[in-house]
Symmetry: C2
Subunit: 313 residues, 2 copies
């Protein structure tokens, strides 16, 4: 059997046909065009699924199920409870999909499905317990326990970006205080870089954006640090510390075999991993015992499709 | 069948004979006398087990297994890796026990077995996923996922007291910074109370200990707050905030059905639960969705015996 995986993003809908091992056989994408509201978007997801099946030389009979990764939260009845960035609220996604394709439809959070993908076919392959983290606009978490997605008893777990790491710190958009993503997301790194160069305008960071601080990206700070710019190095070291502190909490609590890093910041590769592993070793509770490997996720953007597809396995 | 549960503490060894439902049929205790070193202590555990079986009117044939809860960490081969407060390091506990009683021996951390006990016969009974927290000298954690103990892939998980909640905060005894137990243990509440009354010597807290600040206990602060003492109320409110922040992290990450509170501070009962539940509701990520019930653990000191016994089930 084969599986359809749908990765619903704010810009594009990506659909792939995926085999039992989590390999993409064929994929395609269309613009999301969010402003139309949920129903036409979901119908496009269904029509693109049919196209991908056909273009790959398969028929609907070969497809066991459809999985959808959404940037939000869904319940077990196939209703998207909300996707804040898409402005979706209580959308009967499964019902609309099934009005076009009569197959089982599974829906889960996008970071969660990416974690599942890495566990089936990526860096966490073969490992029972793993945690996936996206270091992007926020910090997303995907938890796999005993080879299965773990979202908790009410489906509200794995929001690892909203563990407080600084309880007298910054107010988070979620209403809590000092959430980890306020310190360890790509957004946070940009903010930290910007704040630093406002005080130190001779930093290489400023030259790299030709003085336009709005153009600072996470990789601007990382590249400047790589080139040894003092201000950028200080910001990046502090960022690594914040990231390490949260990862240590995950190790001390969940003790997975692998912690896989995805999202924009993870593109720094070894320049991220090496100092991060050192800091984690310094702060982890059981310093003399084995603990999680920290690795860069290997599936990149395909993780969304693959993980969604594997929801139906 | 019945089970032997051994609760190894720094002061006493408590042993109980426990039935399939987690009910204690008979129990007894002897002083630990730590200064003798591990071997005589473990032999006493075995001899007391034999006595408890006999006094309860059972024979060794009725006993399926022996479980031991230790204030530290054990591996799967039955070796206690370390118990910091007992100054035990690499102690072959199972081997010594089995030299006297030839039964399967299981060993786990004391907070973890207490969590299992609450899950089998206490406040978390019947619930698949629960988290137990002891608010005592430190903050200990016991995680039950899908009715089973969860200690992670290397057995170093569930150290929930060592999640950082204040990453520019107090240095912890573990070498990390701003660990939750530095803010939410009974020890932390005592320290917070003491620091506050040093600045405000007219607090009721000072009267309650006749001016001897070394006599401040967690319950001194709690009782003074209960009586409306302003200084004590401020300290206690802040303590509730710290406790709530860590519980919110647990809900956002693990999303259990029940969070059970044990240890000294939990004796405050509703005076703890009511403000705590309010603060958690304020900070939890998904404010409009169901999340964990926060409750006081019900088994008290018996949790150690019951949970240890249930390791063998």
């Amino acid at each position: 059997m084969v599986y359809i995986g749908v990765d619903l993003g704010g810009t594009n809908i990506a659909v792939g046909l995926v085999d039992e091992e989590g390999k993409i056989l064929h994929k395609d994408s269309v613009p999301t065009l969010l402003e139309r509201g949920p129903e036409p978007v979901i119908k496009d997801m269904a029509h693109l699924s049919l196209k991908v099946i056909k273009d790959a030389g398969y028929t609907l009979d070969d497809v066991k199920a459809i999985g959808v990764g959404v940037p939000g939260l869904a319940d077990k009845t196939g209703v998207v409870i909300f996707c804040t960035n898409l402005r979706w609220h209580m959308v009967p996604l499964r019902e609309i999909m099934q009005s076009i394709i009569d197959k089982p439809v599974f829906i889960d959070n996008d970071a969660t499905v990416a974690g599942l993908a890495e566990s089936v076919a990526g860096v966490s392959k073969g490992v029972a317990n793993s945690v996936f983290l996206t270091l992007g606009t926020g910090v997303g978490g995907g938890i796999v326990i005993d080879h299965k997605i773990y979202s908790g008893s009410h489906g509200v777990g794995s929001e690892l970006g909203h563990m407080t790491v600084q309880c007298e710190g910054r107010r988070c958009t979620c209403g809590s205080i000092g959430c980890w993503e306020q310190y360890s997301s790509a957004t946070a790194l940009i903010r930290q870089g910007r704040e630093a160069v406002e005080k130190n305008p001779d930093s290489l960071i400023v030259k790299m954006v030709n003085g336009d601080l709005d153009k600072i990206e996470a990789r601007t700070v990382i590249d400047a640090a790589r080139q040894g710019d003092k201000v950028a190095c200080e910001v990046y070291d502090k960022y690594i510390y914040y990231l390490a502190i949260g990862i240590v909490a995950i190790i001390n609590a969940f003790d997975p075999e692998v912690i896989a890093l995805g999202g924009g910041v993870s593109k720094a590769g070894d320049f991220l991993l090496e100092p991060l592993r050192k800091k984690v070793a310094e702060y982890v509770f059981y310093k003399d015992l084995p603990y999680a490997r920290i690795e860069i996720a290997t599936l990149g953007n395909d993780a969304g499709i693959i993980g969604a597809a594997m929801l139906g396995k």
